[in-house]
């Protein structure tokens, strides 16, 4: 057990420690290795990061990787709270943050209070433990901080090292700044570079050539198809959206009255538009019946005139009866005619709902077109870059993309025009299963 590399101050046998809690145990580290202790700030998750790395934090402009000690030691997952702290330390010359449950205190302990560790302590592997410090009231587990990162793991954390922090501009040459995309700290740094450059440019300050070169390289990377995880996630989201629209339109087919189910609607290439056609058909049926009834009304009016011409002796029963009948019929006829005209006017709805539906159809088609465009562009670029293209499918995709772009120029389409729905279905099936 070697305690010589603990800081000793005020006499060769005093250790200066900072202690923190993890679960039920209290740990301590050499205080000189601690840069600072922070409250819990937002941790940005970074895809492709090593497993033990929780993410990164922004510390006054610097990007620091953060390790969750509970995860590292295999302790149970607990919710973080107000007490949670990030202890920023120098580990193998890398600046790293360690998430701990709480920080207890800074203390001095005599070297003589340190003893070798028992084999399994607090569920933590003995490789991480230097020893235990026996204080009056409690036991502190002394952590060997350097063991928290192996040499390889430290190398994976490309990012500001202790020396690099003091470096200002780089000695980089004019061309050929190659940024490696492995190492998540590097990726995040690139993103920060881009943001800085953009901020500086909009603030009108001078931007270094180095920053611009970095920016250009990154953008070139994107264009050449170096896609990041986030891009692929977005691509997946677009696919989900397109599938959702598709499924919704297909399921509209299930909303059918018995008459419509068997009807052949050859002109409606789209289920949405078939709604308008279905209402048109129904309305025309109503109008036909109404027109026939109105015709009957005319016949009734004629019959009434005939009855009027029936002559009876005045004041006879029949005369009175005739007048009664005429009066009744005229009343009913009037009511019916008005009623039929009202029904007819109510059929206005078909035009109004139809127009609204057409507007929605236009909207859906536009959105659909734009989503397909993005998906296809992404796919085509990626396939061309990978060179793994299945020519038939690739050409299909290029054709559809060309069709969509032509349609965008033409503007909103009438029914029967536009992307063939079954072609879209096929393509989405191939792309997203």
């Amino acid at each position: 057990m070697d305690i010589t590399h603990f800081s000793k101050g005020g006499g060769s046998d005093i250790l200066q420690l900072a202690s923190f809690r993890l679960g039920n145990e209290e740990f301590a580290v050499d205080i000189l290795k601690i840069q600072e202790i922070n409250r819990l700030v937002e941790i940005t998750r970074v895809p492709k990061a090593p497993i033990f790395v929780e993410g990164v934090i922004n510390l006054r402009g610097k990007v620091i990787p953060v390790i969750d000690l509970r995860k590292k030691f295999g302790l149970s997952n607990e919710a973080r709270d107000d007490e949670t702290r990030i202890v920023v330390m120098d580990i193998r010359k890398r600046i790293v943050g360690l998430i701990v449950d709480s920080v207890s205190e800074v203390l001095r302990a005599p070297a003589s209070s340190v003893e070798p560790p028992p084999p399994m302590l607090g569920g933590v592997d003995s490789e991480y433990i230097k020893g235990v410090c026996k204080l009056e009231d409690r036991l502190l587990i002394l952590l060997d901080v350097n063991k928290l990162l192996s040499i390889e793991e430290a190398e994976m954390l490309e990012g500001p090292s202790e020396q690099e922090e003091t470096k200002s501009g780089g000695a980089s040459g004019n061309s050929d700044i190659t940024l490696e995309y492995r190492g998540m700290a590097g990726m995040v740094e690139v993103k920060k570079n881009i943001e800085n450059v953009i901020d500086n440019m909009s603030a009108g300050t001078n931007v270094s050539k180095e920053d611009l070169d970095k920016l250009v390289t990154h953008v070139k990377g994107l264009l050449e198809g170096k896609f990041f995880e986030e891009d692929l996630e977005l691509y997946g989201e677009l696919g989900e959206m397109a599938k959702y629209i598709n499924e919704t339109k297909k399921s509209l087919r299930n909303f059918n009255a018995a008459e419509i189910a068997d009807k052949d609607l050859p002109e409606a290439s789209d289920q949405l538009e078939s709604i308008v056609e279905a209402t048109e058909e129904a309305t025309n049926n109503i109008l036909t019946v109404t027109e026939n009834l109105l015709d009957d009304q005319s016949k009734i009016k004629n019959a009434i005139e005939l009855i009027k011409s029936l002559k009876f002796t005045k004041k006879s029963e029949n005369s009175k009866l005739r007048d009664q009948i005429i009066s009744e019929l005229e009343k009913i006829s009037e009511v019916n005619t008005n009623g039929l005209m009202d029904i007819m006017a109510a059929c206005n709805f078909q035009d109004l709902t139809g127009q609204r539906i057409q507007k929605i159809v236009g909207l859906v088609k536009t959105i659909e077109g734009k989503i397909m465009k993005i998906i296809l562009t992404f796919n085509i670029k990626r396939k061309e870059k990978d060179g793994t293209a299945d020519d038939e499918i690739l050409n299909k995709e290029k054709d559809m993309l060309a069709k969509i772009e032509k349609m965008e120029l033409k503007g909103p389409q009438r029914k029967g025009e536009g992307i063939n729905q079954s072609e879209v279905d096929d393509l989405l099936g191939e792309l997203f299963g």
Binding site: E280, N284, L287, A345, Q350, D351, L352
Partner: protein, 125 residues
């Protein structure tokens, strides 16, 4: 009021609406009615003259009702033709635009037979 022998053109891209208007006019006694689906078809029929009244929608493909109205007013044969616009658009600017283009009167959908009759009486006296 318009003579029952008058020749009337009804223009709307929804066939059900043309049918409704035709029936209302029939009830009012008008039998000489022709139809068109959009502004282009309508103008082709109108430019040869012979029509006494035009009833048109506003929102139509190929040529809107407003464009049709402007063309009608710009053509000698039809520049005095009474025009009734029947449309779903109730926005003030749209009504003003139609009036400025020379519309005789304006009905907002949905409408009843009474309203149509009333507007025709306003136009023809």
């Amino acid at each position: 009021m318009l003579d029952t022998k008058a020749k009337i053109l009804v223009v709307d891209d929804f066939s059900t609406l043309r049918r409704i208007i035709k029936n209302i006019l029939k009830q009012l006694g008008y039998m000489n009615i022709e139809e068109a689906e959009d502004g282009v078809q309508a103008y082709n029929k109108l430019k040869n003259g012979g029509f006494d009244f035009l009833i048109t929608d506003r929102n139509m493909p190929n040529m809107t009702g407003l464009e049709l109205l402007e063309k009608v007013r710009a053509t000698d044969v039809t520049k005095e033709l009474p025009v009734l616009m029947v449309t779903a658009e109730a926005e003030k600017e749209n009504i003003i635009a139609a009036v400025q283009a020379g519309v005789s009167n304006y009905i907002v959908k949905p409408f009843t037979a009474d309203v149509l009759k009333e507007k025709m009486e306003k136009i023809f006296g």
